[in-house]
Symmetry: C2
Subunit: 287 residues, 2 copies
């Protein structure tokens, strides 16, 4: 198992972690000042500054990506909606390519409209079919461009609104169906927040193996958790056995970065510099 205690070479910052404090260009500067060498930015944060500006800033600072957030949200109530989702995913692939990301992370979507409180249908099996077809079509484009897609299984509490793929096993079943040759172009993003509870977690990490393990996200699960979306914990403040899971990831062949992604009203209310400094400290001690 790799030793993280000496430096933070393996730390990546998912930029949603400080999205309420700073614009993306400031986030990149603040990371550069602290020797954080990788980020995972979100499309809306990139768009707010400009894709070309961010691409140049990343080159200038020598900061790389651990992933690009995000593609997905494939299901739709009609053919026009499905086509629009696919077109949007192609644009996300292109942006990821421009930023030289190692993968595009997919939050696959679920019941269309549920995020707005008005699901157009409630048949989750239909949503799962639309997700499968959407990933298949997006993968065709991604292969041509050379951008790997990472399916992120989300916690089952987000199954109605954000993702109908909720276990690593389900995500890997889909990878095997759509990419049986393990080409390296389709895999998973393992976020401890979404999967820590799963009794099959270690088994499925081993099943995934190096070819499929495209990203690793860390934060913590607070007890109690007060909100379904924005109450994630800083690493070390919750109940997730972070070192145990990282050991499994590395034993399975994962040699990439550890990306810190914390959606939290609490941490969003603190000074951004304190948040980054805490991420670095916890990365060295408890990740």
């Amino acid at each position: 198992m790799r030793d993280l205690s000496k430096d933070h070479e393996l730390l990546s910052l998912n930029t949603a972690t400080v999205r309420k404090q700073w614009r993306l260009d400031t986030i990149i500067d603040e990371c550069a000042r602290r020797g954080i060498r990788a980020i995972a930015p979100w499309r809306d944060q990139v768009a707010a500054v400009g894709l070309d500006v961010i691409a140049r800033q990343l080159r200038d600072t020598g900061i790389g990506l651990s992933g690009y957030c995000r593609g997905g949200f494939f299901p739709a109530p009609d053919a026009a909606g499905l086509a629009a989702a696919l077109e949007d995913n192609r644009r996300a692939v292109d942006e990821a390519k421009t930023l030289d990301a190692p993968c595009l992370v997919l939050v696959v979507g679920s019941l269309p409209g549920a995020l707005q409180g008005k699901p157009a249908y409630t048949d989750i099996a239909r949503a799962r079919n639309e997700v499968r077809d959407g990933i298949a079509a997006a993968l065709e484009y991604a292969r041509a461009v050379g951008m790997p897609l990472a399916i992120e299984p989300l916690h089952p509490m987000q199954a109605a609104e954000r993702a109908c793929i909720n276990t690593l096993e389900h995500a890997l079943d889909l990878c095997d169906e759509l990419d049986p040759g393990r080409s390296g172009m389709l895999g998973v993003a393992v976020d401890v927040y979404h999967v820590w509870w799963d009794p099959k977690l270690h088994q499925q990490i081993r099943r995934a193996g190096e070819d499929r393990l495209l990203a690793y996200h860390v934060c913590d699960w607070l007890a109690p958790t007060r909100d379904l979306l924005n109450d994630r914990g800083m690493m070390g403040d919750g109940v997730v056995e972070l070192k145990t899971i990282r050991r499994e990831m590395e034993a399975a062949g994962y040699a990439g970065l550890c990306e810190v992604e914390i959606f939290s009203e609490d941490w969003w209310s603190r000074p951004g510099g304190d948040v980054l400094d805490t991420c670095i400290q916890r990365h060295r001690s408890v990740v």
Copy 2:
């Protein structure tokens, strides 16, 4: 598939649904007035009135049980705690017997102390071992008394505090380990709220079969859900495909009651009579 539209003979009321409106003796009277023929009471509600008083009232009104809530919470930080939990489960079995319940429902517990915000340890694998050993010991007693135990897998969002068994597959694996002969003394309580999201739900219901399907609980999953514990929906107000799941249950051999269990600050704030009348109406139309 059974026709529920003509009457509510198959409706059971989990009495937590109106626990903030009424004491249990009043709940039983209000059920009797409406022709609700079964309930699933909680231990604290029974204790508040008296076990013998409730047993007599049930006999007098002809109301039966669909299950007794609850045993479980097996993990503990030390041997004394494990022994105390087992002793408490034996008392729960005895009470279930006194009330002539068809099963004792087990909410198995997880990280001890997490419910109070202070987990004594964070190793969920250890909690799972303690749960297995606890169920094995409780089952020995339950067999002697003749009281089936129903493991209720809880939604993964309750994995830290309330139950480290979070999928039907995991619960059934444990049933197979501890009761390989399918004696009828160990099975599962399937609550749609906890399992609706699971891509393996239908497969695992079929695997369970009549021997293991000891209880069926209904409510609905709201989109959005605003609280991890007390924001369940009334049947028909959310995204759960209730009829599809009941069809699977019945195809697998389940011939028991449909128990309505709604933890909801919203429904607790309404007049109890309105809640019961709505349960009856929705039971006939959407369950």
